[in-house]
Symmetry: D2
Subunit: 115 residues, 4 copies
């Protein structure tokens, strides 16, 4: 069992023990994930980019917590819809390599549609 499959199993048991499957529709899980993404954003909103590269301990701990929350909802959402996040990520990296050829994208943050 891979590490994400391990987390997926723990989340299944966690939800089953609390009878939470009724709340865990993909729609609701996508909302919950977005809420956590917002909390992650909150840590950074008034920091400069430079400050964001070396966080104070309290902010670092908050980011770690929010990264965990996003990952857990991501795994749970994938599980409800039969989507393997890691396989999807591997496919996406292949696509991105085609959309953003190194020689055209070098040092450039433009979207592939504008390269």
């Amino acid at each position: 069992m891979t590490e994400l499959e391990g987390l997926r199993e723990q989340l299944r048991n966690f939800s089953a023990a609390r009878d939470w499957d009724q709340f865990h529709s993909p729609k609701n899980l996508a909302m919950a994930l977005s809420v956590e993404a917002g909390e992650l954003l909150e840590v950074f909103q008034w920091l400069t980019e430079e400050q964001s590269r070396s966080l104070e301990p309290k902010a670092q701990a908050a980011v770690s917590d929010e990264i965990a929350d996003v990952l857990l909802y991501l795994i749970r959402l994938g599980d409800q819809l039969g989507i393997d996040p890691v396989a999807a990520a591997h496919r996406k990296i292949v696509e991105n390599a085609q959309k953003y050829p190194a020689d055209k994208a070098r040092g450039n943050s433009k979207k592939y549609t504008e390269l």
Copy 2:
């Protein structure tokens, strides 16, 4: 090497080959993650919860793509800050088990502060 570490390495190489580290401050990566979370949300915004449980093929593919994008930015953000997402998730599950004891949280979607 675990599966997330494998993705982390690929993302490091991808970014280095394009000289993108200059754009990948934690602040910017948190924004990018939030943008992708919004695109994930878009798939579900007008669906009922019931409809969200069995998506049409086009929506299913879109969700898979957005799950991939969120995971990739999550790994990249963790890498920039020295945070291991899987370890953080394991810690969070332990915390959640304390915040939401099964007998108090059963069938209840309230926040732990209101249980």
Copy 3:
């Protein structure tokens, strides 16, 4: 002075009195607005659509607070970039009427690109 212009002036004074203009770059304000949109979302994440139509007093008050926060950042962001939100909204309604003709869009939640 219209009602939004009145709020805009108050926000200018509020920020000037606290020397906050340095933090209020459009980038940061867009982040802050997104954080507040996430807090708004949080109120609804585990509610059914039906429940969301008649909120308990505490949730109703929370939604009112978050609507205020989103509006304030929206006005402030518009002010920093010289964008009048109400004029932009009027233009958008005209565009939407063209994208979504009543006879084609009736009872249909599809995006205009798929109508």
Copy 4:
């Protein structure tokens, strides 16, 4: 009729003509608002704060469009729940003035709980 009330009336008519009230539950409108906030964020994600203060024409137009979308969903959401966004914003400014006294908050971006 104030300017926001004018927009509110137009949105009511727009939705009624398309039989869209069935989709416009507060839950769904909060999601739609968050999706638009994410699209707003997208414009800024790879820009420096400095760049965000003077946008290129295409980005400026995109921001104007997204500000409009956020405002329209905000008004619509308020209408469905009987919340007046401008009145809520005025209340919030009063609260914020108490939470962030000018002398303590000057030049400081900390949250009021940490001032």
